[in-house]
């Protein structure tokens, strides 16, 4: 689905977190929102999902204003994975993923819902863990469970807040590959991410946020040293290695 963000602003009481943000994402795009801590990345993601109410501007999904979509309908279009799940220990993996079917369940989950979940568990290689509780899983497995839970909503748009924070490089790659695969299947994927190398490698679009404003956006051509140096206030060297962009900090 095509998302158009038009001049949105948002403040937490006195503090203006987002100022005049505009950008567009198309079906099948994978957008990385990058910037320093506190630059407004997570806030932007929450505004796009109406978790936070924007003060100004508008967001459109396939030309339709976000404000005209009911909360129940929105949960069938857009799925959100928070950065850290608030402690929820004893639920089984199957039940957690089944939670994502809520927009389609009234009362009791149907046979179709259960089959849908079980197929997702297979797809994300979680079938062995189906009856384990979340708190017994590793970080990488947990993240896959949450992605499965989001996919259970059958969304066209997937929003993920720091999906690979706290994961080792093996699980980072696994999650990023999965997200790219999903975007190739036509889901619009939007993530916030700190690892700019991973962002450059996997996401075809980038949005650079500096103190609540868009500083640069576009395709991979935005990964030039001048942009990144301004974004993070450090000196970097951007090199190309086997068609991949590598960003390395210069002097220590």
């Amino acid at each position: 689905m095509r998302i158009k963000v038009n001049h949105i602003s948002f403040s937490y009481n006195e503090l203006q977190a987002l100022k005049d943000i505009s950008f567009e994402v198309d079906t099948g795009d994978m957008l990385a929102i990058i910037g320093q801590n506190g630059s407004g990345k997570s806030t932007l993601l929450k505004c796009m999902n109406r978790i936070l109410k924007i003060n100004q501007g508008s967001i459109e999904i396939n030309e339709r204003p976000l404000s005209a979509i009911s909360p129940a309908k929105l949960s069938q279009i857009m799925a959100y994975i928070p950065q850290t799940e608030e402690a929820r220990t004893g639920l089984t993996v199957f039940d957690t993923v089944l939670l994502g079917r809520k927009p389609y369940i009234s009362g009791k989950p149907s046979a179709h819902d259960l089959e849908f979940v079980s197929e997702l568990l297979f797809r994300l290689e979680l079938e062995e863990e189906a009856m384990r509780t979340i708190n017994t899983l590793s970080g990488g497995q947990q993240q896959r469970v949450f992605i499965a839970r989001a996919l259970a909503q059958q969304p066209s748009i997937l929003l993920l807040d720091e999906p690979i924070a706290n994961l080792d490089i093996y699980h980072q790659m696994k999650v990023m590959k999965l997200l790219r695969q999903l975007s190739a299947e036509g889901i619009t994927v939007i993530i916030t991410i700190h690892d700019i190398n991973m962002a450059a490698r996997f996401c075809n679009k980038a949005l650079m946020l500096k103190q609540g404003t868009v500083f640069a956006s576009g395709d991979q051509s935005v990964y030039v040293s001048a942009n990144i140096e301004y974004l993070y206030d450090i000196e970097v060297e951007v090199v190309r290695y086997k068609d991949n962009i590598c960003i390395m900090p210069k002097n220590l």
């Binding site: 999902n49 909360p71 939670l99 509780t133």
Partner: protein, 354 residues
């Protein structure tokens, strides 16, 4: 292999349902025993006589006007306290939450004390054998109910003024509890001996205060509440994964939480006003059920309700019969029976993990 996962999960759901049905059967069984047992044992011969309609009027009276209301009072109160406890723990995302977390118990006790001291409900001794007879139970009940509504109103005011987080709500509950605790102390200070004894007696919690009108009133409150909780069970499930996630799933966390708290508090207020403060059940029954069926809100509320009804009935039956004809306050038994059961469940799980 795909089917394997489905079969496992369906088995798990079936197991949870079987647990609930088993507890329900246990409840019926204990209910049957509770009707027969007591200081006047009603055996098979008497029941046959009753069925043939030639039983003595005494047995008829005991069954219909003493034992049956008491059994139903225990079951309904157990359901209210345990379901409310489970819901409070879900809504406030806190394992220490109970039906009394918002201060309902002290608020009701304050109301009852006020009724006893100032409205004359416990001021005179009706018979010389009953030193602490509450002479007008209806005034005490109404005063206790109004007290708990006052407590709830203060909480709601705080929530409204400040966009209240879960922490603020819990803290408000603690404050309300101590405020009304101080109020009770004042009442006890100004009360005379008989009134003081009445206040203490009231707070013990006693299921013998039930009659058919009270039971009817409780059901009027309980049935719509359970229906509402059942409709909302998926919202509660989502809410357990955090407010942001709930919003992204189309659930309004603030509204769901406040409405849930108000309904559970009203149910609890009714139970407390009628039967006094019965501790422990609302806090621990949801944990016992969690240990048995896991952390799934779909089954937790129903499971807690059924288990709570069974458990309070069991406690009350033991309290009535253990040193019959003396009837112990049921609140004492709930802790004495509940703590060993809970400890057993905690240690059993640990052994299995090792």
């Amino acid at each position: 292999m795909n089917d394997e996962v489905l079969i496992q999960y369906k088995r798990y759901r079936a197991r949870n349902k079987r647990f609930i049905i088993f507890i329900l059967l246990l409840l019926v069984l204990i209910g049957g025993i509770a009707l027969l047992a007591g200081s006047h044992w009603i055996g098979g011969k008497e029941i046959l006589a009753l069925l043939r309609r030639d039983g003595t009027a005494l047995e008829y009276q005991i069954l219909l006007n003493i034992r049956l209301p008491r059994v139903l009072a225990a079951v309904i109160t157990g359901i209210i306290l345990s379901a409310s406890g489970a819901l409070m723990q879900i809504l406030l995302r806190n394992p220490l939450a109970s039906p009394y977390t918002l201060g309902i118990s002290n608020a009701a006790a304050f109301g009852a004390s006020f009724g006893i001291v100032f409205l004359g409900a416990g001021s005179s001794i009706a018979r010389s054998s009953d030193l602490f007879m509450i002479t007008n139970p209806y005034i005490v009940t109404v005063a206790a109910f109004l007290g708990s509504l006052l407590g709830l109103a203060i909480i709601l005011m705080i929530v409204k003024v400040k966009q209240a987080s879960v922490e603020t709500i819990i803290l408000s509950g603690v404050i309300i509890n101590s405020l009304f605790g101080a109020g009770i102390a004042v009442m006890q200070y100004v009360a005379d001996n008989v009134q003081l004894a009445s206040i203490v007696f009231w707070t013990f919690g006693d299921l013998g205060r039930g009659d058919w009108y009270k039971l009817f009133f409780m059901l009027i409150v309980l049935i719509p509440a359970l229906f509402y909780f059942s409709i909302k069970r998926w919202d509660y499930k989502v809410l357990c994964s955090g407010d942001d996630y709930a919003k992204s799933m189309g659930v309004n966390p603030q509204q769901t939480r406040i409405l849930g708290l108000v309904i559970t508090s009203l149910c609890t207020a009714v139970a407390v006003s009628f039967f006094g403060v019965i501790a422990f059940v609302g806090l621990v029954v949801p944990h016992i059920v969690r240990k048995c069926i896991g952390d799934n809100e779909e089954f937790l509320i129903t499971g807690s309700a059924v288990f709570g009804g069974m458990f309070l009935l069991l406690c009350d039956t033991v309290a009535r019969t253990i040193i019959s004809p003396v009837i112990l306050p049921v609140g004492i038994l709930t802790s004495f029976l509940g703590v060993p059961l809970f400890l057993f469940l905690i240690t059993r799980r640990k052994v299995r993990c090792e």
